[in-house]
Structures are given as structure tokens and as C-alpha cells.
């Protein structure tokens, strides 16, 4: 084996397989975590019968999916029907070889200097499978779910992309490793780009068809939306693709706004260099920090689902086009102006201060002693 072969084929493959297995375990576990957390937030217990606290549900669910009957509707378009669940799965899995999980070089599968662009390009192809599956099922609910999904994903792709521009302007690179290093030596992008982070998170919810934007599978209107006619493993593939896409977006969120695998402000703390100096254990520590942050955002997904009711379709479009996009554009303009007006990192500090003030003020309003409800006879 030549060193080149090892460097460009064997090691990336091994790293990707390890990452893939971890991702699959997290996705399978999310099923249980989500049901359980939703239950607890809705004043019930959730699945607790299989194994300790229902933990074996993680294994029981896949077994159920495999054993169930695989039904193909007689009037379905066979080829497209089979392609439907597979198409969103491929980009959802491919993206995992572009995300850096820890300090390079060990924990980066492939170091692409336009990695962010590639990830965005790949994730946005996931909608094809959903449209195709919805159309091929020959069912009006499926078709409407597919169409809604298309409209929604295309609409929210715009603020999704625009919210990243501010980060790119600050960091000056499409390279996720560079973006993470930049944050480690300055401050988490969450603070200077608080509005962008908010838009990114909301668009990310809409991209993944999660509540409150789960119109493509709105069960009270469309039965189950685009996967109404799918059963057994085909349905499981849709689920797998959805949860994988959620995980990808959480990874992006963490890399772009929360400093990835580092835990440091302006170079103090666990930066990439410190972790690299600690050898393999430093790398593992970085990966653990990264996964912890990602899992936090996965839990926030569930938290959102438990809290917010579903939007109406026109409200969804209005929010996307009339609020998210102008806000993202304004954020780009303000960021650019501040960077130009105050060079040598002054703009960064000003934006961070504004972000910290916004977060602090929101928290104050949220936890202030409530004024008492005044009641008088009338």
C-alpha cells in the first residue's frame, strides 16, 4: 500500500465508517429520546415498557420496520416509488464525510476548502426524493405533501443560505475548520451573529420539515403527507433521511455559530492547537465536545416540537419571504457596514456587544418578576 493510497482512500474510508456508525446510533436513539421527551413534556411518560426505561425501543423499532409487510400500491409508478426513499438518503449520508468532528487532521474525514458550499449543495438535493415519492404514490395527499415540501424547502433555502453570509464575512472562508478556528481565537459567532443564528435555526427547522413547520406531513390535514403510502423499510428510509438531515444541520449550526469542537474565547481555553498538543486524547475530547453540542441542538428540536403549534401554509410562506429574508439581508448589510466602519476587529467587538445585550435583555424580560394581573370589579 502506497502512502498516497492510505492517505486518500483507506483512512478517509475508515473515518467515514466510524462517523457513519456513530451517526446511525444517534439517529436510532433519537427516536426513543424524542418520544420520551415529548411524552414527559406533555405530562405523560412515553415509551417505557421495553427494557430499562424503554431503552430497548431503540432496537425494537428497527426490528419492527424490517418485519413489517412492504406494500407497493398497485397504481404507483414503480421506479419512482422505489427511488423516493433512497434519493434523500444518499445526500444525507454523503454529507457526513464533509463535516469536521474534531481537530484536524485525525478527526476530519475530508478537508475540502469549500466544504460549506458542498454541504449546502448536497443537503438541498434531499427534496427531490420527497417530491418523487409523493408523486409516485398516486395519492392526492402524498402529492400535496410533496408539493408543500418542495415549496417550503425552496423558500427556506434562501434565508438558510443568506444567514450564513454574515458568518462568512466575519471569518472570510468557506472552510469549516477555518471557521471553527476563527471562533476559537475570537468569540463564538452566536454573539456577533445572533440574528443570523436565529434565522439559521428557524430555517433549519423548516428545511427538515419539523414542527412548527411540518406541513408536508401534517397529520391532521394530509394523513401523513408524502410518506402516506410507504411502509416497512421504505418508510424507515424516509425517517432515517430526516433524522440524518437534522443531525447534519445541527453539526452545521455548531460549527458555524458555537465554535465546533473548541471551548475558548479569544484563544484562551481549549483551542485546536491545545487539543492537538494533547495528542489522540485531545482529539477525542474535541469530538466529545462537538457531539455534546450537537446533541443539545437535537434536544432543542424536540423541545420546539413539544412547544409550538403548526403554522398555516400562507403564514409559513409569509414568515419565510416577508420576515426571514429581509431580516437576513439586513443582517448582511449591518455586518458589512460595521466591519467596514471599524477595521482591525473593532466591528467584531461592536457586533458581539450588541448580541450579548440582546441575549441578556431577552433573558431579563423572560425571568423578571411578573407584574401581577390586576383584577377589579366592573
Amino acid at each position: 500500500m502506497t502512502p498516497a493510497l492510505m492517505k486518500y482512500l483507506v483512512w478517509p474510508l475508515v473515518k467515514f465508517l466510524v462517523a457513519f456508525v456513530i451517526v446511525q446510533v444517534i439517529v436510532a436513539a433519537m427516536n426513543w429520546v424524542e418520544r420520551r421527551l415529548l411524552g414527559l413534556m406533555q405530562a405523560r411518560l412515553g415509551p417505557n415498557r421495553v427494557g430499562y426505561k424503554g431503552l430497548l425501543q431503540i432496537i425494537a423499532d428497527p426490528i419492527k420496520f424490517i418485519l413489517k409487510e412492504d406494500i407497493v400500491p398497485s397504481s404507483a409508478e414503480k421506479v419512482a416509488y422505489f427511488l423516493g426513499p433512497i434519493l434523500p438518503l444518499i445526500p444525507a449520508f454523503l454529507v457526513f464525510c464533509l463535516i469536521p468532528y474534531g481537530p484536524p487532521p485525525t478527526f476530519v474525514v475530508t478537508h475540502v476548502n469549500v466544504g460549506l458550499l458542498l454541504i449546502l449543495a448536497l443537503t438541498s438535493t434531499g427534496v427531490y426524493g420527497i417530491i418523487l415519492g409523493g408523486w409516485a404514490s398516486n395519492n392526492k395527499y402524498s402529492l400535496m405533501g410533496g408539493l408543500r415540501s418542495a415549496a417550503q424547502m425552496v423558500s427556506y433555502e434562501v434565508p438558510f443560505g443568506l444567514s450564513i453570509v454574515g458568518v462568512l464575512m466575519l471569518c472570510g472562508s468557506f472552510d469549516l475548520v477555518h471557521i471553527v478556528n476563527y471562533q476559537a481565537h475570537n468569540i463564538w459567532n452566536l454573539f456577533p451573529q445572533i440574528i443570523a443564528a436565529f434565522i439559521f435555526f428557524v430555517s433549519m427547522n423548516a428545511e427538515n420539515n419539523r414542527t412548527p413547520f411540518d406541513l408536508p406531513e401534517a397529520e391532521s390535514e394530509l394523513v401523513a403527507g408524502y410518506h402516506t403510502e410507504y411502509s416497512a423499510m421504505k418508510f424507515a428510509f424516509f425517517m432515517l433521511a430526516e433524522y440524518s438531515a437534522m443531525l447534519v444541520n445541527c453539526c452545521l449550526m455548531v460549527s458555524l455559530f458555537l465554535g465546533g469542537w473548541t471551548l475558548s474565547i479569544s484563544g484562551y481555553g481549549l483551542t485546536t492547537a491545545t487539543l492537538q498538543a494533547m495528542g489522540i486524547w485531545g482529539g477525542i475530547l474535541g469530538a466529545v465536545i462537538f457531539i455534546a453540542k450537537v446533541l443539545f441542538f437535537m434536544l432543542v428540536y424536540v423541545w420546539f416540537r413539544a412547544t409550538f403549534p403548526r403554522f398555516r401554509f400562507d403564514q409559513l410562506m409569509e414568515l419565510g419571504w416577508k420576515w426571514m429574508i429581509p431580516l437576513a439581508l439586513a443582517n448582511i448589510a449591518v455586518t458589512g457596514l460595521v466591519i467596514l466602519a471599524a477595521p482591525q476587529g473593532g466591528g467584531e467587538i461592536a457586533l458581539s456587544a450588541a448580541g450579548v445585550i440582546i441575549i441578556a435583555f431577552t433573558l431579563y424580560l423572560l425571568f423578571r418578576p411578573k407584574p401581577k394581573v390586576v383584577a377589579h370589579a366592573g
Binding site: 413534556m41 423541545w303 412547544t307 440582546i358 431577552t362 407584574p371 383584577a375 377589579h376
Partner: protein, 181 residues
């Protein structure tokens, strides 16, 4: 009464305070203790006036048939014959119960039979705090006099005969019989 809520300021609206308030509520709910009763392991004690399985007392019953008359759907079947018996040295004509059956599967648990019963204490009553009446065969829900009187805390766990012989039902029966009251 007129209730005045504090007005929402523009800062509250701009910072989406209502949404964060909602998130706060669900988070608080996450840590609250749940009131769910995990049924086979935990059991709820019914209220004192809960109408459950019938209990019948042969000794108290005077065979007046008032309960059968009171029953709105006529599911109480009573057969009686007269007998000459010596009570306190005198010959008396007594009514003797031959049959006292209740078709529980059709019962709606209105407890009118209990109300109609003239004996004190009642010779038919429903306040036994039992609710596990399900059976595998509907014929098991037709109870005769002995079955109505001689079940202990709970009605018998009527299992499928073959399942019972294989010992598959045993665990369930033990749980029910040993369950908390």
C-alpha cells in the same frame, strides 16, 4: 369582573418573548412529576362508592325478588320455592333460593338492585372496589349464586384453559391476586 393584563411592549414583540415563554413552560413541565399510573405494576384504589363486581350474601337474602324487579334490563334471574321449617319451635313457611344468577356481561352497573334491596346490610352490593372483570370467554361473565358469593378480593382471572395449563397465565394471575388494594 374585568381582568387587566399588562400590555405587551414593542420590545416583548421584537424579541419574540411569547415564544420563549412557551419554551419555558414546556421545560418546566418536563421536570414535573407525572401522575400516570403504570397499570399492571401500580393500581389505583377506586373511590368508596365505585361500582365494581357484585357481591352476594345468601344468608342475608330474603328472596323477595325486589332486585330482579328493579333491574332495568332484567339480568337478575331468581328461582324460589316454599318450604316448611321449624323456627323457634314453630313451623314457618319460608322462601328458599334455588337460583340467583346475574348476567354481568349485560350489566350497566347502575346499582338499582342494591338500592332496592330491603335487608340491612344489603344482601347484594357493588361497592367492592374491583374493576378487573375482563375474561377471554363471554360465558365466564355469567355468574351463579356460589360464584357471586365466593370470590375473594377480586373476581377469578378467567384464562384460556389451554394457556392456563401451559402456565402462561400464572404470572398474570399472581400479579392480580397479589396486587395492592
Amino acid at each position: 369582573m374585568q381582568v387587566e393584563y399588562p400590555k405587551a411592549k414593542w420590545t416583548d414583540k421584537f424579541l419574540l418573548l411569547d415564544m420563549f415563554e412557551g419554551l419555558k413552560t414546556t421545560l418546566r413541565e418536563l421536570f414535573k412529576p407525572k401522575v400516570t399510573i403504570r397499570y399492571p405494576e401500580e393500581r389505583l384504589e377506586p373511590a368508596n362508592r365505585f361500582r365494581g363486581m357484585f357481591k352476594f350474601s345468601y344468608d342475608r337474602c330474603i328472596a323477595c325478588k325486589l332486585c330482579a324487579v328493579a333491574c332495568p334490563i332484567d339480568i337478575i334471574y331468581i328461582d324460589v320455592h316454599d318450604e316448611q321449617r321449624e323456627v323457634d319451635g314453630k313451623m314457618k313457611k319460608l322462601k328458599v333460593l334455588d337460583r340467583y344468577d346475574i348476567d354481568v356481561k349485560r350489566c350497566m352497573f347502575c346499582a338499582l338492585c342494591e338500592e332496592a334491596c330491603p335487608t340491612k346490610p344489603k344482601s347484594i352490593w357493588l361497592t367492592t372496589k374491583t374493576y378487573e372483570l375482563a375474561t377471554y370467554d363471554r360465558n365466564d361473565l355469567y355468574f351463579n349464586m356460589q360464584q357471586l358469593e365466593y370470590w375473594d378480593d377480586r373476581p377469578r382471572f378467567a384464562g384460556l384453559p389451554e394457556a392456563e395449563s401451559e402456565g402462561r397465565i400464572e404470572g398474570g394471575r399472581k400479579q392480580i391476586e397479589g396486587g395492592t388494594q
